[in-house]
Symmetry: C2
Subunit: 484 residues, 2 copies
Amino acid sequence: MAAADDGRKAIFFGRFISAPGPESLLIRQGAVLVSSSNGHGVLEKTDWTLITPAAAFKAFGVEEQDVDFHQTMNNGFFFPGFIDTHIHASQYPNVGIFGKSTLLDWLTTYTFPLEASLGGKEPLADTNGAYEGNRGTEIVNYSTSNPLSKADAVYTKVIRRTLSYGTTTASYFATISVPATNLLADLAFKFGQRAYIGRVCMDHPDTCPTYYRDETPDQSLANAIASIEHIQKLDSKGELLAPIVTPRFAPSCQPETLSLLGQLATDRKLRVQTHISENIGELALVKHLFPQYESYTDVYHQAGLLTSRTILAHGIHLDDRELETIRTQGSKISHCPASNSALGSGFCPVRKLLDNGIDVSLGTDVSGGYSVSILDSVRQACLVSRQLGFVNGGDKKWNIGVTEGLWLATVGGAKCVGMEGRLGGFEPGMLFDVQEIDLSGENSPVDIFGWEKWDERIDKWVWNGDDRNVRNVWVGGRMVHSGK
Amino acid sequence: MAAADDGRKAIFFGRFISAPGPESLLIRQGAVLVSSSNGHGVLEKTDWTLITPAAAFKAFGVEEQDVDFHQTMNNGFFFPGFIDTHIHASQYPNVGIFGKSTLLDWLTTYTFPLEASLGGKEPLADTNGAYEGNRGTEIVNYSTSNPLSKADAVYTKVIRRTLSYGTTTASYFATISVPATNLLADLAFKFGQRAYIGRVCMDHPDTCPTYYRDETPDQSLANAIASIEHIQKLDSKGELLAPIVTPRFAPSCQPETLSLLGQLATDRKLRVQTHISENIGELALVKHLFPQYESYTDVYHQAGLLTSRTILAHGIHLDDRELETIRTQGSKISHCPASNSALGSGFCPVRKLLDNGIDVSLGTDVSGGYSVSILDSVRQACLVSRQLGFVNGGDKKWNIGVTEGLWLATVGGAKCVGMEGRLGGFEPGMLFDVQEIDLSGENSPVDIFGWEKWDERIDKWVWNGDDRNVRNVWVGGRMVHSGK
């Protein structure tokens, strides 16, 4: 699987496509030279005039035998890796399982029991009537001597799956369990995915189940720190792997806990992720739990959690003052269209967020979202935007097109995880986090008839492509997935 | 590929799942005996007590060597084939290509030029500025000596693709070309898909492009009949292949044409398909073109096109009087959620249609819809219903769940194509139109961890499954696709 991850250089030759702007699909033919060590491979040189591999070797001054060489297929291209700015790794086994629930009943019925079990802690049946523990007729053989065996199986699967769909960077929620969260970090580091990993902080006795919550604000903070320090030991530079402070969402945290975490993020200059303004019932709950605050946004603002390194998932029902606060603070929104539709949460007004100067990216929100595929999130972002246009009298200004969706999934993601200019394109100095796409091949779900222009082939990829079109994936120049 | 299509009998053994009702997922273990000749294989016997293949041979009184035998995998099951009640075969090359258009500009920009080209007739560049003919840098080598070579390529692909996704029955729109429509019928018959095939009738000089329309009402009728008679010659019984009278939609037909087609459908007891009430701009156009009619529905009603054998695609914006007329006439609605979202057409109130006693089924509406997969239509029907619930103040009554979606895709489809009780389940006497699903296997996009209950596995299939999970497909007992 190695490629340019051992100090060797690599040349990538062929078609390079990216979406540097919301209306700009950049299609170039040429070659790039990647120099790499320890997973920090960057684009050293690019040349968009080269038309043969031989010309590339010559132009970059290297001998063929001294470099790795990768060339796109006839209907293939290199594309920046996708950035999933909101995904609950721990919920992966529940993708597609949500019945007719909406956010708050979904949490108690499906989500908390699963998350708790990854820490080796099965809730008692009577703590939640809807939960049946290890269900079904088949027996799951998780080792009882290793309480993390279930987390190991789940986290291994979710990292492999997301890589196979071209997700090179993910901002993960884990669970409240420190050892399970640390295991997720170990695995992401081992598999080479760029990952921000957050132990979930939640301790509000009125909203969190007894079997799944931190006991006090101090314990919540201490456990957050324990996980942060483990992660920082794995990657001291914090470029491939980094911790992210993760209060679940306002309703599940005591005000003191939110403030402690805000202080922690400020003191240690850490990333932050949480949820905001997803569901109408949730808004009412926030109002009930935090009556002294001006708004949902104000709860986070007063706790010091709204930084320029903060990712807020959803942001569907924010009012203008909240948008202004978020913009001023430089916090980011992760738009999760699949989840919003699946849980009936509403329509995120992406155009309005962007017009207000707020950075937006895409999140799968597994398992509120049913798919680990950011390509599917691009699709759903397009669909939801058209529905929002319909709701607003047919106004096309709301439309997110394919190019803009891909821009959100790459450049937008880079901005939201604090990697603007380092991820999401093919410019010299950028990290080589790239997926190689092949639209042809026997197993491709996409049919190219041959007369389609390249922007139409991209349309076809977005609407019908899947992991079968992902031929290879590199993170920091290291090949981390091969679907060949 | 043969299985029980040569007079032999076949036993299918293992897990059988179906959705006989909107809230009823029927999961049975046992065996069925299928007797078959010439693609008319029916379920002769079922037995839901059998637990070994040997018991099945014995119970059905057959010797192992005298029958074909198929058994589901560990995470596999037989499921009724999907019924796509609205698909434009001719538009398949455009799946995913629609830019930011809505219905009326999508027709002129993307659709009419492509449809015309399948009849061997390329529009001149100046008839439509947006159309560039055979575009792109690569050359398409369709034989100029065979004007149907493009149609052959496209129709072969769409039939193979739909079969691979488990669509055993499709109600196809072709184009206005008689030879190309007949070719689609030939191919569907050859590949063994159950298909209703309609030559598209459109002749309104104000709305149809000069390069793509019937010249007069009489020509429209004569060409419809020419294709109908070709199809009826292929399958005189009309059970596997049948014609369907297909006025494109009211705005593209002169009133006289609609009446001639209504009379034709009545005289010959033929199926009918068309579009209704899809898009706000279309409603205004109908009002403009048919000022003397009470409603869109009334245009079809007065033309005699609303029969109990009529499939109306979309039906998003119908008022109560229109619903009452449709119910009284026994006409059916094909709900096309992917298309409605993609073109920003609105939210079809499926619950209201059902509550009004109207039969509803699912259509992919390729290429207004971007996918040939009815499984994806089930997903989109669920998503759209939740959004409709949100729009209606969070009312869960609008929710279409996974089981109801599958019911629409099978039993609903059977009702809408006039095959109620003959398709969509595993009861004795029914036709054996079946897909064998396997959720496991190296290439499955679905991850089964082992503790999921069977209804949850079905959830996972619906939300993340695709053609890789379709192991085999039978129509009338004949194996028409194998993905092994």
